[in-house]
Amino acid sequence: MSNDKAVLAYTLRLADNTLILAQRMVELVAAEPELEEELANANFALDYIGQARMLYSYAGELEGKGRSEDDFAFMRDEHEFANLLLVEQPNGHFGDALIRQFLFDAFYVHQLEALARCSDARFREFAARAVKEVRYHLRHCSQWLVRLGDGTQFSHDRVQTSLDDAWRYTGEMFASDETDRAVQDCINGPDLEEIRPLWRRDVEEVISRATLSVPSDDWMASGGKQGRHSEYLGYLLAEMQYLQRSFPGASW
């Protein structure tokens, strides 16, 4: 894989993670347990949409074929999306959505910190801005996780199940492939083996404060980064892309 191609593929992975997670969060508007959480959820989703837009625009420039941010978001098919399986998982209840964002942000924050030190100026600029947003998201999620874990017996058990169920999607974050290695080599990109223990340390610290147990590393799902998704993504895209697909060429 050429270096340029790897950077493009990596940019789309980053962009797809943020867009697909944002789309899931947008589904939760007007369904949050408190008004204050409506504000927080919308705010975080806005951050991710903003990040996705910056990344898709960069991908368009890297590719040089004139594709816009909306072409990437609305005109690609399921197998062309390279997001982690974790972020496409359905919302479930408040604890499920919280765990999904917590596990992802705990990884993403380190990924961004590494990108802020890489040799690609655009990634550095992007990561320096995004990492501030994601650190705040992670703090918010961690505080809620502690409240749910150390709240009532019911909330403790419920969020433990959420954690156990989502855990199988965390292995994929660290499963390095050709694109990850090429980005690491050519632009001094994130080293997943370095991030793994940092993620583990941060996640375990919050899980412990939340009086929850760290699930065991049994079977791990994978495939999202390579475009092999769960059944859920097709429905998400069908809904998200419907207007662009129904009115080809229209501008909005």
């Binding site: 408040f94 909330s155 419920r158």
Partner: protein, 328 residues
Amino acid sequence: MYTQGLDQAGKDRRIAAETEELLSAFQRRVDAEEKIEAKDWMPEAYRKTLIRQISQHAHSEIIGMQPEGNWLTRAPSLKRKAILLAKVQDEAGHGLYLYSAAETLGVSRDQMVADLLSGKAKYSSIFNYPTLTWADIGAIGWLVDGAAIMNQIPLCRCSYGPYARAMVRVCKEESFHQRQGFDIMNALCRGTAAQKAMAQDALNRWWWPSLMMFGPNDSESKHSAQSMAWKIKRFSNDELRQKFVDVTVQQADFLGLSVPDPDLRFDEDTGHYKFGEINWQELFDVIAGNGPCNKQRLEKRQKAHSDGAWVREAAQAYASKQSARVAA
């Protein structure tokens, strides 16, 4: 209206304490355009009117998130998705300020939310109409937020300080909302024939309900006279409706859309547009619960509240444990 519905002993005592002297001193302050603040003396009926109005306004913001939220997952571009999400977030924020403004009058947010969920409290009937196409998001911003601004700008000068101050910020954001709605309509009207048809259809469905947002005709409006005297309200329903029609018809012309009113015409003598008779029965039906989405909107709110109960309980339990730990 002072004695209307005030049948509890406590309230009777408070009303009995409302001497002529107190009432006329209060009215003098209002007439002098002084702001009434939370801890100031005020007639019980003034307090009650404001609680009703501010809480209804807050509820409208919260319920209003639903028809627009209906298109968040399907917004046609990332830019439109971000703008719409920011707008819906503003509405949650408006709900929050307004509940806080109402709380200064001695009612709790929990009580107001309970009244909304039980169906006792009202919210703006406009949100009981469905958003069927993307153009409805444009029409809501353009017409519904446009009508809301006409209603709300005078509230920035309302005699009750906390409400007036909350409205200053709300109005600034509403004016962005109105522009984003017009911008959506403009893009559709400059687009393909199918897009323009979508815009026209949305105007056809939202025009009359938007005119109803100003409330009944002045002759039928039961709270108006007292609210005007208290300077809670500054202009009558019919004055505001006329102002809205005058502005909006010209915008529709600019867009190349036709207003769905065969009686609409410009009156050279008055300089205003004359418009056809509003179907008031429709408004009364929707207020009585018989609109296309009343049941759906309320059920969604109730479900969010009950689905979230375990989360609120957990937060409460954690907070109690934390205070116990600090005390120990």
